[in-house]
């Protein structure tokens, strides 16, 4: 029985073709699969304008906590969650909206009408009506959310920010 195995350039040719075929299949799979696995992870959550409600009851300089249903897409699910924001009617007529989360460590703060300040019950941070830090460990002013008023209704884009930093970084 004689062994017949290609030698020399023929052998090199075969190994080249095998390598090219393996590479083509490998790339043909690896590229789409990488896009499939990675790109949804890179996509930023697109927050949408959420309707908070009519602005008629807001009084100038008096912050009011407003609740609304916000719709967030979570992968294949569309979640509706209740959110709250602080809205402050400005003398010029526009409205400033604060995130309800203390920038220090993420507690919920509240408005004390008596001394006209926001107080955070967890670690004692205090803010004035413009959101500026007056006392306590908070590293930055209250976080302002994008807002607009259309046909007497307040709309906001609800966002969350990293806590503990001296400038707001969106999550």
């Amino acid at each position: 029985m004689k062994d017949s195995v290609p030698e020399g350039t023929r052998r090199t040719f075969f190994s080249w073709v095998i390598g090219i075929a393996a590479g083509a299949i490998g790339m043909g799979l690896a590229i789409p699969l990488a896009i499939f696995a990675i790109s949804p992870a890179m996509k930023r959550r697109t927050a949408l304008w959420a309707e908070v409600g009519p602005t008629g009851n807001l009084q100038t300089g008096e912050p009011e906590e407003l609740q609304f249903a916000s719709t967030v897409k979570d992968g294949w699910r569309t979640n509706t969650a209740n959110k709250a924001i602080w809205a402050v009617q400005q003398p010029a007529g526009d409205i400033i909206v604060f995130s309800p989360i203390c920038p220090h460590l993420g507690c919920g703060f509240r408005w004390e009408g008596g001394d006209h300040r926001f107080h955070c019950p967890c670690h004692g941070s205090v803010y004035d009506v413009t959101g500026k830090v007056l006392a306590g460990p908070a590293p930055r002013s209250l976080d302002v959310l994008p807002s607009k008023v259309e046909q007497g209704k307040l709309f906001v884009i609800y966002k969350e920010f990293k806590s503990g930093l001296d400038h707001p970084v969106e999550l």
Binding site: S4, F14, A21, G28, P32, F36, W76
Partner: protein, 448 residues
């Protein structure tokens, strides 16, 4: 095979003998294109495993989420439709590859002594592969998945004595539902892969112990021998590339849309199994009444038994097809039966009245928008609004329906129906469904 990294590793791990074992296996009679089907099957199995793992990144096996996650993969994940297409067409391709592999082994008498164990393991691998097909079909949780699995599991129930227990174990309870879906998912992605992994290792281990069978003629086999590498590897690699390109092309060009969400209350739905189960589907149409168990489990059981025992049933030591008339005739007869059944089934599916996809989508929308809360169609639904069983007889105008959905009172003054400001294409589908509801055609089967 001599890069610096390879030399470095070889120095430590002593790879040369392993390389020799893997690549220099002698093939009696030399390399040949007829031996590529086993490698093609193995390649397609690996393709299924890879695409399956990636699909599992987004798929959730629960009746609440399964359908939505498959839709998400199909429409929202970049290239999701392509990955799902590869998995879908890969499943069909692996069945074709197994069929050709089986045919080659049968024709060449390669199951005969000393390769009986390899044949038996191969038959077990075939059954496991069909298990993959059956369990995977349920996972999208659409109407086809639900009703085809309903039929499939009911067939198991016809096995005497243990049928009831078997079907309960398979479904995870007495009805098809959440527990069925989670166990089919576990079977499809954990149990079957573990089993088939062991089976493939055993199959390849036996191959290396007994060696490839080579040509059927002893003289030809003895004349020359050739190492597995490079020529056989070259042929295998080209075939794998060809198969990959074919599957990718099918995934790119042929759509296979989901049916509506699984609806246990919709008894009008007629499921159709995957093409590789169609011959069996057709057989069931011919055998009914008291003889039905013959088709649902006696014949399949006998067939599997015969297949497993075939190396001992065919005791003729000759491998040359010309000297094995009995084996050849029974093989050809079996293929003729299978392909005739498949052909008849495909023909009858092709000639059966087709449901317009727009009508099907409209029907799904009709249920999604809760239209039957007020409207009745063939006895099902509320009585607040008009009965729509034959609505197209009175309202054959598509424009009328479109205007009516957007603003009912504009065409039907005094109507209490709310407006349905859906997307343009959704309204069109809904209108198509309405137009299919006429007296000469039963609901939902309006001709294209």
């Amino acid at each position: 095979m001599a890069g610096p990294l390879y030399r470095w590793l070889d120095d430590r791990l002593k790879l040369k003998p392993l390389e020799h074992t893997l690549l220099d296996e002698p093939i009696p009679g030399g390399a040949s294109w007829i031996y590529v089907f086993g490698s093609a099957t193995l390649f397609l199995f690996c393709l299924q495993a890879t695409t399956g793992m990636f699909l599992a990144l987004y798929y959730v096996p629960s009746p609440d989420s399964a359908y939505d996650t498959v839709q998400f993969i199909q429409h929202e994940v970049p290239l999701g439709w392509f990955v799902r297409g590869l998995h879908h067409w890969g499943a069909s391709a692996v069945m074709v590859a197994i069929g050709l592999h089986l045919l080659q082994v049968y024709l060449y008498g390669a199951y005969k002594r000393p390769r009986e164990p390899m044949w038996v393991v191969g038959v077990v691998l075939l059954l496991l592969m069909m298990g993959f097909g059956f369990t995977g079909y349920l996972l999208p949780w659409d109407q086809n998945a639900y009703w085809a699995t309903q039929v499939g599991t009911n067939m198991v129930a016809s096995v005497p004595w243990i049928g009831d227990v078997l079907v309960r174990v398979l479904r995870g309870g007495d009805t098809l539902g959440a527990l069925t879906l989670s166990r089919f998912f576990a079977l499809h992605t954990l149990f079957l892969p573990a089993l088939i992994g062991c089976g493939i290792v055993a199959h390849l281990f036996i191959l290396r112990r007994v060696g490839p069978a080579g040509p059927w003629s002893v003289e030809q086999a003895g004349r020359r021998s050739e190492a597995f590498y490079p020529r056989q590897v070259f042929m295998d690699a080209l075939v794998m590339l060809g198969v990959f390109l074919l599957v990718a092309l099918l995934a790119l060009t042929v759509e296979f849309p989901l049916a509506g969400h699984a609806d246990p209350s919709d008894h009008t739905f007629t499921p159709v199994p995957e093409w590789y189960f169609l011959f069996f589907y057709q057989l069931l149409k011919y055998i009914s009444g008291p003889l039905e168990p013959l088709a649902t489990w006696v014949l399949p059981g006998l067939f599997i038994l015969v297949l497993l025992l075939w190396p001992w049933l065919d005791r003729n030591p000759e491998r040359r097809p010309a000297s094995r008339p009995m084996a050849l005739v029974s093989g050809v007869a079996f293929l003729m039966v299978v392909f005739s059944l498949l052909g008849i089934s495909l023909w009858s599916l092709h000639t059966a009245p087709k449901v317009d996809p727009s009508v099907a989508r409209g029907k799904v929308l009709f249920s999604k928008q809760h239209c039957m809360a007020c409207h009745r169609i063939h006895g099902e639904g509320g009585k607040v609004g008009p009965d729509l069983s034959y609505v197209a007889d009175q309202r054959p105008d598509r424009q009328w329906h479109l205007r009516h959905f957007r603003d009912p009172r504009s065409v039907s003054p005094g109507s209490i129906m709310p407006a349905f400001p859906l997307q343009e294409n959704d309204l069109n589908d809904l209108a198509s469904y309405m137009l299919s509801l006429k007296s000469e055609s039963p609901a939902g089967t309006g001709n294209r």
